[in-house]
């Protein structure tokens, strides 16, 4: 393979390679000449030169907000930037809905519950309920998902039975309580029930929870696992791509941003 030639770049403000950067931040001190100087010093410490404190505003009695322009002497070789093949970017709420409409052509049916003895619906609610989590809408809010949240303490058998009755494309199992590894035991039991019902390998089976990761989920027999910090949109994107792969509409080796690893 021929190594691409060098391509040196710097930030572009008004002229090529001027290295101009705009910054804004707040320092926890009252507005004063000293505060302005502190902001300039802080910016220089970050390696910038030609520092201009464009605005220093009294954001509150003891806080000053700065807008700063400065130059950076840094440069990089763009040719050497190596980004692993992210073929598909994670899609936004509207884009994903449009994508489902176009590629799948029907609403994707998703069932979820906190199964076994676990009463903590925080996780499943964050992913499925309208409101979602951290400003990221839950699956109920996606017009192209039909999401059913059965709540907590749902027996694995009941979740699978209800999901089957609606031809679910995906089933989400949330496990929050982890004392004595109860989440693993219950998850294994879920997979056994799924196998007995003949849906293992057919319906997407997803596991989520604060002590869950993708590797653990695969070991337990799930298709994917989602740990802490997962947003509803991560799960939504995963389900769509996994479904398209299953339908042969996307290649098996296709990768996309944010897929569980």
């Amino acid at each position: 393979m021929v190594k691409p030639s060098k391509q040196i770049i710097r930030p572009y403000g008004d002229r090529r390679d001027d290295g101009v950067v705009q910054l804004s931040f707040t320092l926890p001190v009252p507005l004063s000449e000293k505060a302005k100087e502190a902001a300039a010093v802080f910016t220089k410490k970050m390696g910038f030169t030609d520092v201009k404190v464009a605005a220093a505003e009294r954001a509150a009695d003891n806080y000053t907000f700065f807008v700063i322009y400065a130059r950076s002497g840094m440069y990089l070789d763009y040719a050497e930037i190596d980004v692993p093949e992210v073929i598909v970017k994670k899609m936004s709420f509207d884009d994903l809905n449009a994508f489902i409409k176009e590629k799948v052509g029907r609403r994707i049916v998703v069932f979820g519950a906190c199964t076994g003895t676990d009463t903590h619906t925080v996780g499943i609610d964050a992913i499925l309920n309208m409101k979602g989590y951290a400003g990221d809408y839950g699956l109920e809010r996606y017009p192209w998902f039909e999401a059913f949240n059965l709540g907590s303490q749902v027996p694995n058998e009941e979740l699978i039975k209800k999901a089957l009755a609606k031809n679910a494309d995906a089933i989400l199992v949330s496990q929050v309580v982890t004392q004595r590894d109860v989440h693993k035991d219950n998850s294994r039991q879920f997979i056994e029930v799924a196998k007995a019902a003949g849906i293992h390998g057919k319906v997407q089976l997803l596991l989520g929870g604060p002590r869950v990761d993708h590797k653990l989920a695969l070991e337990l027999g799930f298709d994917a696992g989602f740990g802490p910090g997962t947003k509803p949109s991560d799960v939504a994107n995963y389900i769509v791509h996994a479904l398209l792969k299953k339908q042969g509409k996307e290649p098996q080796d296709m990768h996309y941003q944010g897929e569980p690893k």
């Binding site: 707040t26 954001a59 509150a60 309920n129 809010r141």
Partner: protein, 516 residues
């Protein structure tokens, strides 16, 4: 007031329809009580502590009464029985009562029953007087340091730690905020109890507890005196503990509460009966305490499309207003919610947003209204995002909104940085200052885009109200008419906390609040 657009008689008709929709739900409210209503009664009596592992005493007592199958007589009655057993304090009352075997809970003689009720009523009146005295203190401070002119600029703090929230809230007040909202920890609305004490760890927000309310109000009282401008505090009376939060807020002198007759049903999947019953008692408390409620219609158009579903907002506002009036709230207490949420890549969106906001103002001329900023179509390009928010500032001043939640340029990214609030407050102050009175300078043509759109939206809202009246509210929610969410009467969380009242059900606070 911008344009008539529609006849007064049409608005009167909308109110009449809303009343006919709400009437049957009041049968449900009269016949039933809930565990959270009963816990609120106990909190009125001063039972605000927590037992082992932080379980609130009110929960311990109500759970015990419910398990014994006697809660349907009302927690106040059993509180009286505990006092008759010689309890000297609320804590002791709880202990005595929860220790009793079920078979010891039979009726007393008619005279004893009568005396017991009179004694409890007297105590309830004393508790109510205590509450009123606290509210009077708040009102005195409000009079001493008048608020800025409307729209009151409302910003959010959400650190998870009440002490960090205090720092952020003080900074926001110093930068010009008029109202501070402390966002609750994720999913608190699904907890069937109010957490206890000061809290320093939350997820996406800070737990609403009575002590956290007290800490924040104390800081804002101090800041109000320093700034010589009263700073309002708001929190969330929604979810499974609507009325308990309303009581804690009233007692700790809060000024506003998010409180919607249907939000929990639609967006939190809380049972319909539970919500309708709880919202009534919570609103009775708000009415007494002079708390302004903020309704949540803005949420409809974050789920459904803001252009297509504009009429559902108007229809729901009439219903929310009717529920509120039936609970004794006055017009000045109705922060009826709506928002600036139409896709900014459409044409004419400023005209469409003005139309919607003017229509809300036209329908509810005496209510403060609560205007919400764009969220759904917010972008991570903070410079565009900031410009987008400024348009909402303009609509807010033009349509004389009483309360305006300011948009944050980092809305789509993270909880607001201190500087984000500062930037939003600075530009909102500028727009409000620059355009105050603009509605008196420009009249809106009756044959133009704004008026025509207002008529179209109002017409559809009337159709929806008609449908809700003909089919009933329960069926309308079941069909997903509001926010595109479908809920059933017996689905959702918290139905097991609804109880049919016994014929001799006793709730002296409800009696006092309804008589007020």
């Amino acid at each position: 007031m911008p344009g008539p657009f529609i006849e007064d008689a049409q608005i009167e008709h909308a109110r009449k329809l809303a009343e006919e929709i709400v009437n049957p739900i009041f049968d449900l409210i009269r016949r039933n009580t809930t565990v959270s209503t009963e816990r609120t009664v106990l909190r009125f009596f001063g039972i605000s502590g927590a037992g082992a592992r932080g379980v609130p005493l009110a929960n311990l007592m109500v759970d015990k009464l419910k398990a014994a199958g006697v809660l349907n007589k009302g927690a106040a009655y059993w509180y009286g029985r505990a006092l008759q057993l010689g309890a000297r304090s609320p804590l002791e009352a709880v202990e005595r009562l929860t220790a009793l075997p079920t078979d010891k809970l039979g009726p007393l003689s008619p005279e004893q029953e009568h005396t017991l009720r009179e004694e409890v009523r007297a105590e309830a009146r004393a508790a109510m007087d205590d509450l009123k005295a606290r509210i009077a203190q708040r009102n005195a401070l409000r009079e001493q340091f008048p608020m800025s002119p409307a729209p009151h600029k409302y910003v959010i703090v959400a650190t998870g730690n009440i002490y960090d929230d205090v720092d952020q809230a003080r900074a926001a007040a110093q930068a010009g905020a008029d109202v501070i909202a402390v966002i609750r920890s994720t999913a608190q609305s699904l907890l069937d109890y109010v957490p206890h004490g000061a809290t320093t760890e939350g997820y996406g927000g800070t737990y609403a507890t009575q002590e956290n309310f007290r800490i924040m109000r104390e800081a804002l009282d101090d800041e109000s005196r320093k700034l010589k401008r009263y700073i309002q505090l708001t929190n969330y009376s929604s979810g499974l503990c609507m009325s308990e939060i309303a009581f804690c807020a009233a007692y700790e002198k809060l000024d506003m509460l998010l409180n919607d007759a249907m939000y929990g049903i639609l967006f939190r999947d809380i049972n319909m009966r539970r919500t309708f019953i709880d919202q009534y008692f919570s609103r009775r408390i708000c009415a007494l305490a002079g708390i302004i409620i903020n309704t949540g219609e803005d949420n409809y158009i974050t789920t459904a499309d803001a252009y297509d579903a504009a009429h559902t907002v108007i229809a729901s506002q009439f219903i929310n207003e009717c529920f509120a009036k039936r609970a004794g709230l006055k017009d000045w207490q109705l922060g009826i919610g709506h928002s600036y949420e139409i896709d900014p890549y459409r044409d004419d969106t400023l005209l469409l947003e003005l139309s919607q906001a003017m229509l809300v103002r036209r329908c509810f001329p005496d209510a403060p209204l609560k205007y919400m900023p764009p969220t759904k179509h917010k972008e991570t390009d903070i410079f565009f995002s900031h410009a987008y928010d400024v348009m909402a500032d303009l609509v807010a001043i033009w349509t004389r909104q009483g309360i305006q939640l300011l948009g944050m340029m980092t809305e789509a990214m993270h909880t607001p940085l201190l500087a984000d609030r500062y930037v939003a407050l600075k530009s909102a102050s500028y727009i409000h200052r620059a355009a105050r009175g603009i509605d008196e300078e420009f009249t809106v043509r009756e044959d133009g885009k704004i008026a025509n759109r207002a008529r179209e939206v109002f017409g559809k809202a009337m159709q929806l109200l008609q449908e809700c009246r003909d089919e009933g509210m329960v069926a309308a929610i079941g069909k997903g008419h509001f926010g595109d969410v479908k809920r059933s009467e017996t689905g959702g969380k918290g139905l097991d906390g609804v109880l049919e009242k016994a014929p001799d059900y006793f709730n002296p606070f409800l009696e006092l609040l309804e008589a007020a």
